[in-house]
């Protein structure tokens, strides 16, 4: 019911959404989220995403299982890339499906909030001026209190 993929390769969000939707019997609502590399300050050459092989898959599977316990989902999908990504590239996506829209929306937001702060990924920004690790944002940690 839950599918987790951690990969260096690009993915096709639209194709993944269609494939996911087609397997969700009884779902009336499908929600997707796609995260994209943004060049916030200007001058970003690439984002490098490091992760903890082995733990990453387990941590995400645990978050997906938690979501499935909280909401009556027909399924959930998480794809997260690692390695070097250029501005505009898709970093990750989440899809959730449920009989009703509120459950699908809430579960997708829950997955995103937990992936931000509880899945072992670290982002490094490579700019013309040098490289720097992206600091965790307090608002992302605070977002977990909602659930």
């Amino acid at each position: 019911m839950g599918e987790v993929r951690v990969q260096a390769e690009a993915f096709d969000a639209g194709a993944e959404l269609n494939r996911f939707s087609q397997t969700q019997d009884g779902a009336g609502a499908v929600v997707s989220f796609t995260g994209v590399v943004r060049d916030v300050a200007g001058g970003l050459e690439a984002m490098e995403i490091e992760h903890y092989p082995g733990m990453t898959e387990k941590a995400i599977a645990g978050i997906v299982e938690e979501a499935q316990g909280r909401w009556p989902l027909t399924g959930a999908l998480v794809i997260h890339r690692h390695g070097r990504l250029e501005p505009g590239a898709q970093i990750m996506m989440v899809a959730t499906a449920s009989a009703h829209r509120v459950a699908a929306f809430e579960a997708a937001e829950f997955l995103m909030d937990y992936l931000k702060s509880r899945a072992p990924f670290w982002k490094k920004e490579l700019t013309r001026e040098g490289a720097g690790w992206v600091a965790a944002v307090e608002a992302d940690e605070d977002a977990l209190k909602r659930w």
Partner: protein, 83 residues
């Protein structure tokens, strides 16, 4: 006892290696951190402020008070920034 110690992100960069095997007598994660800090300045720099760090034991998030007994893999890293 012997544990594999893994470092990620800037912790890895400060210490200079992604992984090493460590011989330790420490009873807790905090004890292990003390031993590492005493080794060399690069460790002292990486572990300067443990409140800025997170730890996983055998690939599960844990905390610095946790006992080390039976643990095979300890990982130190900054707060995660996924998504």
């Amino acid at each position: 006892m012997t544990v594999d110690v893994l470092y990620f992100a800037w912790v890895r960069e400060r210490i200079g290696v992604p992984k090493e095997t460590v011989q330790t007598e420490a009873a807790t994660v905090a004890g292990l951190v003390e031993e590492l800090r005493a080794r060399e300045p690069r460790y002292a720099a990486a572990f300067e402020d443990v409140s800025a760090l997170r730890v996983a034991l055998d690939q599960e998030l844990s905390d610095f008070d946790a006992p080390l007994e039976g643990v095979r893999e300890v990982a130190f890293f900054p707060p995660m920034t996924g998504g």
